[in-house]
């Protein structure tokens, strides 16, 4: 059972307004939402959890501390979906090793998408493809930075559905940033409210998966 735990994490060297110590845990198959004002450091916190920023304190996945495994391996297990996805190749297919009928189909694509030019993608298409790219990497924990910010209502539901499906199969903990109260309540059991210099964690009543 993969569970994710943060012990005394300090990233105030990256952003001075950050609390000096974060400690929380996200059990398997549960969600932690992060919310707070713009610029308060939500994305920075998420980046630190993927070990993308220098930090003090410890991150544990399934009881294993992040420093004990190689950084690329940690990032494969603790998969981060950034708010703005980046693409290095010219075509969609350059970013995938193989094709997965189910995942692409669920998010409204077929096999032809692999030949599409990256420069022609809309922001919504990029967001859905970035989500597929992340899930095909088979992460054990999902760190999602506003995963549905650029999507219309129906696509937002599709993405939420795909993510919850994945969570159910893999029993993954999810940590997500969202400004959508309704989404946080459907997908998360805890909410981390980030403020200037401190944070608090609340339990969300309604969030029961099933």
């Amino acid at each position: 059972m993969p569970d994710f735990r943060v012990n005394d994490l300090n990233i105030s060297s990256t952003l001075a307004t950050m609390p000096c110590s974060f400690s929380f845990s996200v059990p398997a198959q549960s969600g932690l939402g992060i919310s707070g004002a713009s610029g308060i450091g939500k994305s920075i916190l998420l980046k630190a959890l993927a070990d993308m920023l220098p930090h003090q304190g410890e991150l544990f996945l399934d009881g294993i501390e992040s420093q004990r495994i190689l950084a690329p391996q940690w990032r494969k297990k603790v998969g981060l979906l950034p708010a703005e996805s980046q693409w290095w190749g010219d075509q969609v297919g350059d970013h995938f090793h193989n094709y997965n009928d189910l995942l692409f189909g669920q998010l409204g694509f077929d096999k032809k998408v692999m030949a599409w030019q990256i420069s022609h993608l809309s922001s919504g298409e990029k967001q859905r493809l970035a989500c597929i790219r992340l899930l095909m990497n088979q992460p054990e924990v999902l760190l999602l930075d506003e995963p549905t910010a650029n999507l219309d209502h129906s696509n937002r539901e599709k993405v939420e559905h795909v993510i919850l499906d994945y969570q159910k199969q893999q029993q993954s903990p999810i940590i997500m940033i969202s400004h959508d109260q309704e989404q946080l309540e459907t997908m998360c059991q805890q909410l981390l409210l980030l403020q200037n210099g401190h944070y608090e964690i609340k339990t969300l009543n309604k969030g029961v998966i099933e």
Partner: protein, 263 residues
């Protein structure tokens, strides 16, 4: 061989003066730079001419080693000048000098001890021009490669981080940029090799022919120099790109651009 008199050079300098005057009249703004460069050119070359005369007469290994070291250090400094996103001073100097040492010194030593093998092996008539030519040319390529690398990494920071987030090793995340940088640095020498003899007569060969060397002899030397410059540039760029890109990531393979001097 026909010797040049001071008057011959005065006539040539007349052309420079004429160009400077036209540029002032046409407001092209190159007069000042042109005149300064021409004056520097005369002073630096006359100076090295007399120094070479001195060294040729003494044939002293230590004097030679001193001159060679100065040449290397100046090139190692200059290689970082005129870069868009230069490395911080000491790191840049260290990396530039190491790359040049490998590309030029190693190539020059190989040539002096194995290929041309004059007696003594450090004979200044061979070693100084050879080293100078290698340093000057490989410096160009290495400097272009470094410029491309630093600029691409700086501009593609987010793409590199995205790849790291997906669990790519840093070597993979920066692979495309490395390839592009090596390619960019190799363009000048590959171009000159490709057009040599068809479009241009290389400078060294021209010089040898002017001073009376049989053309085929001059050609053989030119080919040797081309091969040395090309392999030296290649190894030099590979060294520089490898050293820089290794330092752009910390021990947890996070992109860390602290080695760049961001203006």
């Amino acid at each position: 061989m026909i010797h040049l008199t001071p008057w011959d050079l005065v006539i040539a300098s007349g052309m420079i003066v004429l160009l400077a005057i036209s540029s002032i009249l046409l407001q092209l703004n190159i007069a000042k730079q042109l005149v300064i460069a021409a004056c520097r050119n005369v002073v630096q070359l006359l100076l090295i001419g007399y120094i070479l005369k001195l060294i040729f007469n003494t044939n002293n290994l230590y004097l030679l080693a001193t001159i060679a070291t100065i040449m290397l250090l100046v090139a190692g400094y200059e290689i970082n000048a005129r870069q868009k996103y230069p490395l911080k001073r000491w790191v840049g100097f260290k990396i530039g000098t190491s790359a040049l040492f490998l590309s030029s010194f190693a190539m020059a030593l190989l040539t002096l001890t194995v290929i041309v093998a004059p007696t003594p092996w450090y004979s200044p008539q061979y070693s100084i021009p050879l080293l100078g030519m290698l340093l000057g040319n490989t410096m160009n390529g290495i400097s272009l490669g470094m410029d491309k690398l630093n600029q691409s990494v700086y501009q593609q920071k987010q793409i590199i981080e995205q790849r790291l987030m997906l669990g790519h090793r840093y070597q993979d995340a920066i692979k495309d940029i490395r390839i592009e940088s090596v390619r960019t640095g190799m363009i000048p020498i590959v171009n000159s090799m490709a057009i040599a003899g068809l479009v241009s007569l290389p400078g060294m060969m021209t010089g040898q022919i002017l001073s009376g060397t049989p053309p085929v002899e001059a050609v053989k030397y030119q080919i040797l120099i081309f091969f040395l410059i090309a392999s030296g540039t290649g190894f030099g760029i590979m060294t520089a790109v490898w050293m820089i890109s290794k330092r752009m990531f910390d021990e947890r393979q996070r992109l860390d651009l602290a080695i760049l001097k961001i203006k």
